[in-house]
Amino acid sequence: MNEFIGSMDITAKGCNLYYGDFHALKDINIEIPEKQVTALIGPSGCGKSTFLKIFNRMNDLVEGCRMEGEYRIGGVDIFDKETDVNVLRKNVGMVFQKPNPFPMSIYDNIAFAPRTVGITKRSELDEIVERSLRRASIWDEVKDRLRKNALGMSGGQQQRLCIARSLAASPKVLLMDEPTSALDPISTGKIEELMEELKKDLTIVIVTHNMQQATRIADKTAFFLLGELVEYGNTDDIFTSPRDERTERYITGRFG
């Protein structure tokens, strides 16, 4: 069985992905460093979500999705038959565009992943719940209503709850697909601060349509267009001196 220990950098080599006949990702090669925030940007439909979902193998659930290439996280081949997909997903958490808290209490939401791996002791669960909620900086807002249904929270709170729920599985990588696109600026700011904090321990890959957000939080930025990786580098370089003309046109808002 393959375990995820050691560094948590992500590499994709010769990545090609097809939905049926549609060639969604074309020849992508990328190395994403550990413990940094990497932003994936590009116009709608260019394949950012598709690319992101490779790394926790959510595409496995899509009918007719076929892929080639080599994908490694911390050196482990994630499609190797020695790699258990559920172990992979515990190590590679995901936060979705639309907050998706489970219809149960706040406490049970956070305790869901630990319970899946067989943790049942109350004191242990209490501790994980508190630690995860604190790390997602939502503890103070919910500590008095842990037994209340999570669906009664605001959208921004729900999204931070979902982040806390992922953290409770102690992942080493966090994939975020437009996590703030449905949120107001204050909630967005909170989540951005949070990422700054989390990247001390986690490799974060985030899809965003918001250029300012990418410049604020991302160490590296990758620009996708029509299924191709056009340019990838330090965020500062991408936004101040892009090498590719298409990148420049996109970040200056002249197409896309």
Binding site: N86, L88, G152
Partner: protein
């Protein structure tokens, strides 16, 4: 155009009035004729030729409901889980099964009765029995349970499944901890409505359990009766008063079941969705 719209509105109101009048007329007629004839002895007393009682029918109805539900509910739910969670929902197989269950749900119950008669009464040599009737009823309500459970499962937001899988949750755990609880309200309502059909069914039972109205069945292999059958029996044997009284009991039972369905459904919805929805 304006005129046409307001005319349409009045046509709808008129139609609604007709439906309501028909409904109220039936309920009122049954109640007016039946309530006066209800007595403790009629419902719970001992059966005598000149003073028939409903006790055998009450026992029979409860046993039929219990057995039919015990058989049909787990099989129906498991089938629906397979169709929704383990197949590609747009596939041919699911489509064919969908057409089959819809057709089966629409078949007149007397056809199920005939089937039960030929299989259990004749081929198995059981003669008329509560068990044969209950199994036939289970087969009859199965398609309905499968369909409504399927619909409840499909209405669970895909984001919840994705969220669970993304935490490294196995499929089985996702189904039992996330999907089924979210769909439980709809499923429970469907089950109770199916039980309502069992309670009010008569055609199937005439052909399978034998309509023995004067004896509480001692075993499941014994013939028996149900409330619906008793109405038929009393009406056919010159006892319109008892028939009307039985109808009241049946009506109340079905009404209670419907209320129960709504209540449990809401309760489960509340406990899964809290005050949010």
């Amino acid at each position: 155009m304006r005129k046409l719209y307001s005319a349409l509105k009045y046509v709808c109101i008129a139609c609604l009035a007709i439906s309501l009048i028909a409904l109220v007329a039936v309920v009122a007629y049954v109640l007016i004729n039946g309530i006066g004839n209800l007595s403790f002895n009629l419902v719970f007393g001992e059966y005598k030729p000149d003073a028939p009682t409903l006790l055998p029918a009450l026992v029979g109805t409860l046993e039929l409901v219990a057995i039919a539900a015990i058989i049909a509910v787990p099989i129906g739910i498991a089938s629906a889980i397979f169709l929704v969670e383990y197949t590609n929902n747009k596939g041919k197989f699911v489509k064919i099964v969908g057409i089959a269950t819809e057709t089966l749900a629409g078949i007149p119950s007397i056809v199920y009765g005939l089937f039960g008669y030929l299989i259990f009464v004749v081929a198995f040599g059981w003669g008329y029995s509560l068990l044969g009737g209950a199994i036939t009823l289970a087969i009859m309500i199965l398609p309905t349970i499968v369909r409504s459970t399927q619909e409840s499962l499909l209405s669970v937001q895909g984001g919840l499944r994705e969220g669970a899988y993304a935490l490294g949750t196995s499929k089985v755990r996702t189904i039992f901890k996330i999907v089924l609880p979210s769909a439980a309200g709809g499923i429970v309502t469907a089950i109770i409505l199916a039980i309502g059909r069992v309670v009010s069914e008569s055609a199937v039972l005439i052909l399978t359990i034998g309509m023995v109205v004067n004896k509480v069945p001692e075993t499941l292999m014994a013939p028996g009766t149900s409330l619906a059958l008793d109405i038929y029996y009393f009406a056919n044997h010159g006892r319109p008063d008892e028939a009307a009284a039985t109808a009241v009991v049946l009506l109340i039972l079905v009404m209670l079941l419907n209320l129960l369905a709504g209540w449990i459904g809401n309760l489960i919805k509340k406990s899964t969705y809290g005050d949010a929805k």
